[in-house]
Amino acid sequence: MLKIENLHVKVDGKEILKGLTLTVPTGEVHAVMGPNGSGKSTLANVLAGRPGYEITAGAVTFQGRDLLALAPEDRAREGVFLGFQYPVEIPGVNNVYLLKAAVNAARKHRGLEEVDAFEFLALVREKMRLMRMEESMLSRGVNEGFSGGEKKRNEVLQMLVLEPRLAILDETDSGLDIDALKVVANGVNTLRSAERSLVLVTHYQRLLDYIVPDHVHVLVKGRIARSGDKSLALELERRGYDWVTGEAA
């Protein structure tokens, strides 16, 4: 599904990713953990195509294609989804309009007809129930006046409606209380399938109690310092990041 090789990325002239290599096979859930400033969010943003990141070396292929050569909107239409760490508020752009426009953009890309308005609304309502969201949120501006937790739920709602092939969730767990975390994790878990891959970017092990990863990678100073199965996350929790940062230094 996703293959990242020797990726080097600079932000404002400073190298943040320094030769990152990571492979996420189809159907797997990978967690990327790491201390603050290790480059986790940079990785998520570079994969989604956010401007402002200078790729100085390396390659990223997504389903055999050069992902970095695609415009952000084409990545999305091809099935890459980024769940934002800080979802932006867009007053005046209605939530349901955005969802519909996003779904139709992807459908058009695949040569499909536009979604039927009634079926679409029924689908969205079903997913909202799953995410325990008030239906009134649909007619509000995108994330407008939403609490931190509501924004994160809205991200997962969008993902559920868009059904991406590869979802990258950037600290979707941060700022959530335990109940909201369970709702979010439950939503994400419904999307796990043999055709889909997930990358969970997180600082804490807590999320991984609810979304159990196939593999865990520890990102330190712009590189994967250590990889393992889910027990690695538990070990990190016990010993702290100093354990790997010490080794990597």
Partner: protein, 459 residues
């Protein structure tokens, strides 16, 4: 051309047509006073602070005599009896009529009864002064309002003097005593004659008796796609406890020059919601002067302006608080694309007697092109202590984070930008309480923001 030479031309043109101007609309004495006042003060120039964003060059080429008078001359008929040139040029499309609204249409500043509703309806009287003067409809003599003195003293309202001097007709709307439902009126002004023929002078007189209510839609469009020259004047008088909701849509032709002055006086506890959407014209300038004359009066002035290509959209608003405890809210949202300039200069003056004034300004401009220009300017002039005045003014580009968010969901950059521009206007558009009118305005706005097929599907 110098200001003095221009003034002289106004005097000459007035002298040439004065006999043909209807005395029932504006008396010859008042016309004469207006011309002289204008000659004494000179026409505005961009050297003046509150005219600096206006494109005043079209004045130099203007023919100030009314287009209808010139057309009547050409046909050899007396100008006073001239009727508008009908039918309208082929391809002209009138906006769909709003349900429940009586519509009165004026072509090149003269009432067109063929395109209008009956003139008496549900206790509301709308007459056109030109016809009244000839005894064709009503014999009522319309009292000219006390708002007029403003013409003489406010430098920003100078162009209204041209309308005063050359006016050809007036839509005079008078709403009597407290009715259950608000009266609903639409006035539609269509500019047809080219600027080379003469000027179109739309003119509206709105007067609300105490405790009465009116919803007024005032629309300006063009037909035939010419270079129209339009100079409008609107006088509004909202009586004690009366409520006026006034929608003004400036949709002049793409090559038109649009100049316009609105002057309003609000009595005690009067409420005035004025919402303007300016999208038309090549060079447009609106001047609005509202006097909060009675205690407890309330004004909400909301303006949306779009400029594209080489359009100039300039708006000057002065709200003057002269009585205590009045409230003002000013909202401006403007978008400049292409090489357009969009300006809003919003001034709030609080005089000594206006203790307890509460005023808020939220002015925002969006730059949507590398060669576009936005000027938003809040001005406060306060002569008393006991006031609450807040203002915010910003001018900037589309937010990169918002843009990336939409792209990351698969929207094309074009649709994403258009959607964000759309969202930017929402603070004004959401204030339109008539669903049918709101849809019309949304479609107009979507049409202005390039080929909006992809947006319309979202509406």
């Amino acid at each position: 051309m110098t200001s003095a030479a221009l003034s002289q031309r106004v005097l000459d043109e007035y002298a040439a047509v004065r006999e043909s101007l209807p005395a029932g609309v504006v008396s010859p004495e008042r016309r004469q006073e207006a011309v002289q006042a204008l000659a004494a003060r000179g026409l505005p120039t961009t050297r003046e602070e509150n005219w600096r964003y206006t494109n005043l060059r079209p004045l130099e080429r203007a023919r100030f005599a009314p287009a209808v008078v010139a057309a009547a001359d050409a046909m050899g008929v007396p100008a006073e009896t001239a009727t508008p040139a009908l039918p309208l040029p082929s391809g002209s499309e009138l906006p769909a009529q709003l349900e429940g609204f009586a519509r009165y249409t004026f072509v090149d500043g003269v009432f067109a009864s063929d395109l209008s509703s009956p003139e008496e309806q549900n206790g509301l009287s709308v007459h056109t002064l030109r016809r009244s003067a000839r005894g064709a409809t009503s014999a009522t003599v319309f009292q000219l309002p006390r708002a007029l003195p403003v013409l003489g003293r406010l430098p920003e309202a100078r162009l209204a003097l041209l309308n005063e001097a050359f006016a050809t007709d007036t839509a005079a709307i008078h709403v009597g005593g407290a009715a259950g439902q608000p009266a609903r009126v639409e006035v539609l002004f269509i500019a047809v004659a080219g600027a080379d023929i003469g000027t179109s002078y739309p003119r509206v007189q709105v007067s609300l008796d105490p405790a009465s209510r009116l919803i007024l839609v005032e629309r300006h469009i063009g037909a035939g796609g010419g270079t129209h020259f339009i100079n409008g004047l609107v006088n509004v008088d909202v009586g004690r406890g009366a409520q006026l909701t006034h929608y003004r849509l400036q949709q002049a032709s793409a090559r038109a020059t649009w100049l316009d002055t609105l002057s309003a006086v609000l009595a005690t506890d009067a409420r005035y919601a004025l919402l303007a959407v300016n999208t038309g014209g090549l060079s447009a300038r609106s001047t609005t002067h509202v006097q909060m004359a009675g205690p407890g009066a309330q004004l909400v002035l909301s303006v949306a302006a779009l400029g594209d290509r080489q359009q100039v959209q300039d708006y000057f608003a002065l709200v003057e608080h002269v009585a205590p405890r009045a409230r003002t809210e000013q909202i401006f949202r403007g978008i400049a694309s292409g090489r357009a300039r969009v300006a809003f200069n919003g001034k709030i003056a609080v005089r000594e007697a206006a203790a307890g004034t509460d005023s808020r300004q939220s002015l925002r401009g969006l730059l949507a092109g590398p060669e576009a220009e936005i000027d938003v300017r809040p001005q406060l002039e306060i002569y008393t202590d006991d006031v609450r005045c807040s203002h915010g003014a910003t001018a900037g580009k589309l937010d990169d984070d918002m843009l990336f968010y939409l792209l990351s969901r698969g929207l094309s950059p074009e649709v994403a930008r258009r959607l964000l521009k759309w969202a930017f206007l929402e603070d004004v558009v959401s204030k339109i309480e008539l669903p049918a009118l709101r849809r019309q305005i949304e479609h107009d706005l979507a049409g202005q923001m390039a080929d909006a097929a992809s947006l319309k599907e979202l509406l």
